[in-house]
Symmetry: C2
Subunit: 211 residues, 2 copies
Amino acid sequence: MEEVQTHRPDRRRERTRQLLRDALTALIIEKGYDAISIQDITDRANVARPTFYLHFRDKDELLFSSVRDIYEDLAQRHYQMEWTPEAILSAETVDDSDFQHIAENAEFYKVMLSKRGSITFLLQVLDYLTEVTMKDIISLMVPEGSQSRLPPGFIASFLAGAEIGVVRWWLANDMPHSPQEMALIMHHLCTRGLAWAVDMPVPPSDFRVES
Amino acid sequence: MEEVQTHRPDRRRERTRQLLRDALTALIIEKGYDAISIQDITDRANVARPTFYLHFRDKDELLFSSVRDIYEDLAQRHYQMEWTPEAILSAETVDDSDFQHIAENAEFYKVMLSKRGSITFLLQVLDYLTEVTMKDIISLMVPEGSQSRLPPGFIASFLAGAEIGVVRWWLANDMPHSPQEMALIMHHLCTRGLAWAVDMPVPPSDFRVES
DNA sequence: CATTTAATTTACAGTGTGTCTTATAATGGG
DNA sequence: CCCATTATAAGACACACTGTAAATTAAATG
């Protein structure tokens, strides 16, 4: 017996929800995610504590209600382009929207991808990146009917993890490069690997894993 | 005025600490890290709750007291070998101790690197991997007096993140490959990059970032 | 066996959670 | 503009967990 609550439009509702969202993001930057109590959020938002539970089950639900549209927007921006194998591997068409977005919300990510952040959030981002990368890998292989040497899921997880690592380095070092530069560096390292990065040759290998 | 407590050896002490450590790891696998209370731990260990605080400040301190020696052991195993630039880039001398260790503690890592885990732990592992990788990168460049195209910290963060991503994939897919295979696959992908992985050529590039 | 130290037991104050009730205020529809 | 509806406020409650304290009991060491 699922009782689905349908809400007629009401300014008070959206206003309160927005106040709570804003309070949360401000508090995250100030004191870290874990240290925030529901009381903190409602105090900051000038809302009674029981009101919180009229809108969100817990802190995580509030957090994800804040970021969901951001990732929809990012994915949409990414897929505005028609990705072909050539475009993905070419340095001319590198997509820097991820790094752009991180730069615009640097304070937020600096906290949320640190010990003061939330593992749920970090893994959500990682899964998002894996999924997007996965689609790119697929579009890289399917049109050719070609087989990659490694399982696509493996490669996507590899690249997504690498991106998180690099973003953390970027933020920890106060963003010494522009988003465009970062995307380009990342692209070179991803496509060409460590041997290129340290400018040393490795022998060719026909190593292959059946997926 | 630092009051350093010096403990003469006493079986009761080490016994209690070990009981608490064992209780924690068992509980982590059962219900996830976050859901565990101090009470849970002491109940499982058959120890009074105030006793916990005679040994550890909080849950995190207990956790890290459990894993510290593991990582010392791993690092020591890794550095038993004299790493030269050739050895690091060669597929003959791949070090699989990390994957071996993960496989031996698969249940534990499956939880701790998931939403039911702990961000502090995940980042601790990430930082450990970054540090170890960093030393490898350095040993790759210094003896030659050569310069890498990218800042070593960048590369190390990239590879460490990639390793976490891959380990998560490996665990999520119930370890379809042996630790040795995983280390080998990882090695190929790290050194040769995406172009190799999907078996498509990219033009050479003399792109370089001054560190 | 005696001394030292660890652990137990009980208790307490503090903090946060999730829910409930009653009263008040704002909103959108007619 | 008024009214029925719905959101919010205010206060209170039971519950769980934390960190610490005091007095007592138990165990290990030499």
